[in-house]
């Protein structure tokens, strides 16, 4: 099936929508693709660089973006005109950015998320399985082990930060036919452990704080993605770790390593493994496997 490249997606015309009197929502595509996400990133970076008065919030999301503005200064139709003309100028394959590549250690099938997911079985599509068993089965894997190997086997691109502060939505950097897809819980849970690794639709999420959630639960990382007091050195500039466009590599660890890292994180001494790279979409599209291998060589 796969020739080892990522097929470029032809995007439909964007849908510009009014969010009341003070927001504009732009849907670049109904389906997720790298093209849609890169376009959302490129346009939101461009609009930030303009001197358009009245912008309040500029937030890229997976295949869309959102802008809040002051309608006392800027009419929504004027904003939409500006967005249309920016969009005409953008060529995703020429768009590049500096990305940080992070090592994110994960204890898959950990005791804490397992306890939580067992507690909420009645809200699940398949109360008889665990979330990992269910996800492995519906995605055609022979075993949970093979499924975990796949999830940890190629890096994930951060395509959106949102829901709560610091929560990254991550899209695995593999061709469409190799991507995992799972439904969200039938009814969202009222509890999720902090630092849980969840999966819903085509996205991995890391829950920064305990709270509600609807994603399937696969494991827990000992490292933080949100540090409100900015005590860990990686949070010097922001209380939030990843940015859209960063790359996370989920690395399977055992309980012993989990506890050792957790101790360092709690002591405030943990040093994240991370490197800066210039991310080049065109090279990634042409040879994702080779590109990912080079990213991992930089990281480890």
């Amino acid at each position: 099936m796969t020739d080892g490249t990522i097929a470029r997606q032809e995007l439909p015309d964007p849908r510009y929508e009014y969010g009341g009197d003070d927001w504009v929502f732009v849907e670049l595509a109904e389906a997720m693709s790298f093209d849609a996400n890169f376009k959302a990133q490129a346009i939101t970076q461009q609009i930030r660089r303009t001197d358009l008065e009245g912008l309040v919030e500029v937030a890229p999301s997976n295949a869309s973006y959102l802008i809040q503005f002051d309608p006392g200064v800027l009419h929504p139709d004027e904003l939409i005109e500006e967005l249309r003309s920016l969009e005409d100028e953008i060529d995703v394959s020429e768009y590049q950015w500096e990305a940080r590549v992070f090592d994110i250690p994960v204890l898959y099938d950990d005791p804490w998320t397992r306890e939580t997911l067992m507690e909420f079985r009645e809200r699940h599509q398949d109360p008889e399985s665990t979330d990992l068993e269910y996800s492995a089965r519906i995605n055609g894997f022979d075993s949970v082990e093979a499924f975990i190997d796949h999830h940890a086997g190629a890096p994930h691109l951060v395509t959106m930060i949102g829901f709560v502060p610091g929560l990254p939505f991550c899209f695995q950097m593999v061709p469409r036919e190799e991507q995992i897809e799972v439904p969200k819980y039938e009814q969202p849970r009222t509890a999720t452990p902090s630092r849980a690794i969840g999966f819903g639709g085509a996205f991995t999420a890391i829950y920064p704080v305990p709270g509600a959630g609807g994603y399937q639960l696969y494991g827990r990382t000992p490292v933080e993605v949100l540090d409100v007091d900015q005590e860990l050195s990686a949070f010097e500039e922001s209380m939030v770790l990843p940015n859209p466009g960063d790359i996370l590599n989920f690395r399977r660890i055992d309980r012993e390593e989990y506890d050792a890292i957790r101790e360092e994180v709690e002591a405030g001494t943990y040093q994240y493994t991370l490197e800066r790279v210039d991310f080049e979409p065109q090279q990634f599209f042409e040879d994702p496997r080779g590109y990912n291998e080079r990213l991992m060589e930089v990281l480890y």
Partner: protein
């Protein structure tokens, strides 16, 4: 200022923490910005100064220094040393006086402004409390008995404001039941009949109605949706979309409609079908649990008009109050 009793949920709020949506940070800030701003102006503050937002059942507060204060928003029958004090009016308190509140008789949220404002170190440009991650306000949480709040230096004309009051006609009507909405965002997911039923229905404010969101009870929403083969990445439920950003005020269809308020999640994978217009977000935040509202679809031009009208009213009130010390 010392807190003797925190009431039900009392937090420090201001005009909000803007510009951080892209890291998942909602704006927070006073839910009823009209009442918050007017309370500040009544005591000679800037609109960006911090006030206390009290929900349903107000707090008991002891002034530790002489102060000028004003209470706006829902009527919680404030009393100073057990003497009733007028709302929407600047009042003088002396050091040692206790200000107490009862249950709200109309509306849900009351604002207390003090000359000089609540002087807490801002976090990311705002003093607003965002309890989910525990930032802003007093230790990032609701107030409890024993908390002490520092008050800033009152402006030179705070004293001149004592007795200033807002005309009855300029006070909002908190009994309203119709909320204006600009339909859109992802409302293409609704059938024509579904959209009509959504707009025709009486929606009851459920018990789950707070600073994060207002959840409504009413007719089943799942059969209002168009059936489709779900796009890649969305998840299998008809109400799922590829996770996207949620505007504050947007209506997300997650089992039931939920209007997202100022502490809301900033994005997710439920279909949003419209957005409550900005002036009506404050009105909605004054709707009480078990009250009923209807959503009234308006074109964006009408939404802009009603915002400009609201802004003009606020400006007129601010200018009239400023004349007192001109």
């Amino acid at each position: 200022m010392r807190v003797l009793d925190g009431g039900l949920v009392t937090t420090v709020q201001d005009t909000g923490r803007h510009g951080h949506y892209h890291i998942g940070m909602p704006p927070s800030g006073a839910m009823d910005q009209f009442a918050h701003r007017v309370a500040n102006w009544l005591v000679g503050n800037d609109e960006t100064d911090a006030t206390l937002e009290m929900t349903y059942m107000g707090a008991d507060i002891e002034f530790q220094a002489d102060a000028v204060f004003a209470v706006t928003g829902a009527d919680m029958q404030p009393a100073l040393e057990d003497e009733p004090v007028p709302t929407w009016t600047a009042v003088r308190a002396e050091a040692g006086d206790t200000l107490s509140f009862e249950f709200a008789t109309e509306g849900a949220r009351t604002y207390l402004a003090v000359g000089g404002g609540i002087d807490i170190e801002p976090v990311m440009g705002s003093r607003s409390t965002y309890t989910l991650i525990g930032i802003g306000g007093h230790e990032g949480r609701s107030l409890e008995a024993g908390d002490e709040l520092p008050i800033g230096e009152p402006s030179t004309h705070a004293e001149a404001m004592v007795g200033a009051t807002i005309e009855e006609a300029d006070r909002p009507d908190y009994a309203r039941a119709e909320i204006d909405v600009v339909m859109g965002l992802c409302d293409y997911r609704l059938t024509d009949d579904g959209r009509e039923r959504f707009l025709d229905a009486d929606w009851k404010v459920s018990d789950e109605a707070d600073r994060v969101g207002y959840r409504f009870e009413g007719p089943d929403i799942t059969d209002m949706f168009e059936a489709r083969e779900q796009p890649f990445g969305a998840g299998s439920d008809v109400t799922n979309v590829v996770d996207l950003g949620y505007p504050v005020g947007s209506i997300q269809m997650a089992g039931q409609p939920i209007v997202l308020m100022r502490d809301a999640v900033t994005g997710g994978g439920y279909t949003t079908v419209g957005t409550v217009v900005s002036p009506d977000r404050g009105a909605l935040s004054q709707c009480r649990t078990h009250s009923t509202v209807t959503f009234n679809a308006v074109p964006v031009e009408d939404a802009l008009d009603s915002r400009h009208e609201r802004d003009a009213t606020l400006e007129r009130i601010r200018d009239a109050l400023a004349e007192r010390h001109a």
